[in-house]
């Protein structure tokens, strides 16, 4: 299983590398680079956390001697820690609805958001989008199918259902207006952090396009952790289960006893 996943990851890296080299190779005469800054590299989940919005600022810098182009496009792909999911489908059997078949999505991002300044299809050709894994339709979501692990066609019903259910919680989103250019070479991206966000390490991949070709890319990271009391409880539950359980049970008895004393009438 791990070998399959590794082979898959390796092949996607190769594709990705080849794509990068091809696109960059075409434009060596005039090259840009992008610098970005995230408003906050660490999101702390405390007791009043109900989601928030981060802001990513970036600037396009032409190489010395080169000039800025007329227009740029920026696509930000943010991904959360990788996890595996079962997607199940129900069907009617003897009058009742039961899960009849399921697929396993192996090591897919728990959070996947694609933010751009206009619709993806106007930024690059469908082939390039596919090759660079840009957009929910094009991001590799490997499934275990028989003995193999592979991504399916984009309209595979299990894949569509998985993306749409993750989207209901704001975990898988695609926003073609989240990126705005403040000046021709400075942009601002609103990165939504929904309330049900999983904790862990996040990657933000920023790609710069112009006239349909990839010019430059950069990466930045983000950490989402529980803080304060929330962290204390989560750690206690994980590391000291028995003690935590006994404490909770005692708390229950204490609460019950206090109520009966407070409400005693006789």
């Amino acid at each position: 299983m791990n070998r399959h996943a590794a082979a898959l990851a390796l092949s996607s890296i190769c594709w990705f590398g080849a794509g990068l080299w091809l696109s960059l190779g075409a434009d060596t005469a005039q090259a840009e680079k992008i610098v970005v800054s995230l408003s906050n590299h660490h999101v702390a989940i405390n007791s009043n956390f109900s989601g928030e919005d981060l802001v990513l600022f970036g600037a396009v810098q032409p190489d010395t001697g080169a000039q800025l182009r007329d227009s740029y496009d920026v696509v930000v792909t943010a991904t959360g820690p990788r996890q595996s999911y079962y997607t199940r489908r129900k069907a009617r059997v003897l009058g009742i609805w039961v899960n009849v078949n399921s697929r396993e999505f192996v090591g897919v991002p728990s959070y996947l958001t694609v933010l751009s300044n206009r619709h993806l299809t106007r930024i690059a050709s469908p082939d390039d989008l596919r090759r660079l894994q840009i957009g929910l339709d094009n991001y590799l979501l490997p499934q275990r199918i028989g003995p193999d692990i592979a991504d399916t066609v984009r309209d595979d019903p299990f894949r569509v259902a998985f993306v749409s259910i993750q989207g209901e919680d704001g975990l898988y989103t695609e926003d073609p207006v989240a990126t705005t250019f403040i000046t021709p070479n400075v942009f601002r991206v609103g990165v939504p952090i929904p309330s049900q966000i999983p904790t862990g390490a996040y990657d933000l991949d920023i790609k710069l396009f112009s006239g349909g070709s990839l010019l430059a890319q950069t990466k930045t990271t983000l950490d989402i952790t529980k803080a304060g009391f929330e962290q204390y409880i989560a750690n206690a539950a994980r590391d000291h289960g028995l003690l935590y359980g006994l404490t909770t049970a005692l708390l229950a008895l204490l609460t019950g006893w206090i109520a009966s004393v407070v409400f005693r009438r006789d």
Partner: protein
């Protein structure tokens, strides 16, 4: 006011949770049941993961049944001897139930098994209780005794050995059916993830002929012990008990249980039984409806523990 729940991993409204605790606590105190069969589906409905719901509800039930048990203890409406005998069977039954639960999970389709047993059990028990309760009320209307005490009627298990006298409940029965009932409740409770109070109450009333007055307090003691130990077991094995969620539910639950216990004592036994029957039947039918009606989304996703 939203509060982030550290184990369930989502923010929920404190007042909504408190209100749910209050409402279920009231029902729990009134009928002497844990209320798990109401609270667990409610929590899942508002988005709490099922594993966290089942585990956290256990401690909520422990709190409200403890405060209820104290209230009944003060009114001397509690049979300690009977409760201890039931517990003996209950512990054995829980162990057997946990063992079967693990076996069933290895075979798959456990969710369907749980759904079907909810439907069958709740509808059957609720239906019987409604039938009996309505019959008793009709007899009272006609001026007859509400309870059909047939002095000569001996069920077969009244002939069993190891007879014991339970003074508070004014019954004289063999220990064997008492242990068997305890075992069955523990067994079903462990498989379905519920306290089993709604099954215990009618069994004590109809099979052992325990008076309604002592049934509720006694049932609460059994619920208290099984749910407190379930909390510890859930926390130690699958780490899914959310103490923050449980605490909010508990505070609402114990307050509700106090008022519920008083309301329950004021009501006549047969009316109380009819009401509980209607409630159990309604939940059972709701589960049946969910199984039969085409779901909004045929697909569902579930996180695989441990990731890749």
């Amino acid at each position: 006011m939203q509060i982030y729940l550290p184990i369930a991993d989502l923010p929920l409204n404190v007042f909504l949770l408190f209100g749910m605790g209050l409402a279920v606590g009231f029902i729990s105190g009134m009928f002497g049941i844990g209320g798990g069969f109401l609270m667990t589906p409610l929590l899942i409905f508002i988005g709490v993961p099922p594993a966290v719901s089942v585990a956290s509800v256990a401690s909520h039930i422990a709190a409200s049944s403890f405060s209820g048990a104290i209230a009944y203890w003060r009114k001397r409406a509690l049979d300690v001897a009977l409760a201890l005998m039931l517990l003996g069977g209950g512990i054995l039954g829980t162990a057997a139930g946990v063992w079967l639960f693990t076996k069933l999970r290895a075979l798959g389709q456990l969710d369907l098994m749980i759904g079907l047993s909810y439907v069958t059990l709740l509808s059957a028990v609720g239906g019987l209780m409604v039938y009996e309760g309505a019959g008793a009320i009709l007899r009272t209307r006609r001026g007859l005794s509400p309870v059909q005490r047939r002095p000569g009627s001996h069920v077969w298990f009244h002939g069993l050995p190891l007879k014991m006298r339970f003074k508070r409940s004014k019954i004289y029965v063999s220990a064997i059916p008492v242990w068997s009932i305890g075992f069955l409740i523990g067994f079903i409770g462990a498989i379905m993830g519920i306290g089993g109070g709604f099954l215990l109450v009618p069994m004590l009333i109809y099979l052992l002929r325990v008076p309604t007055a002592t049934v509720i307090g006694t049932s609460m003691v059994l619920t208290l012990v099984t749910m407190a130990s379930a909390t510890v077991m859930h926390a130690a094995t699958n780490h899914q008990v959310d103490a923050v969620l449980a605490f909010i539910l508990m505070v609402g639950g114990v307050i509700g249980a106090q008022f519920g216990a008083r309301t329950g004592q004021k009501m006549r036994g047969e009316r109380l039984r009819l009401l509980l029957g209607v409630l159990v039947l309604a939940v059972g039918l709701r589960f049946a409806y969910a199984l039969v009606i085409e779901p909004d989304n045929l697909y569902s996703i579930r996180l695989l523990e441990g990731g890749l």
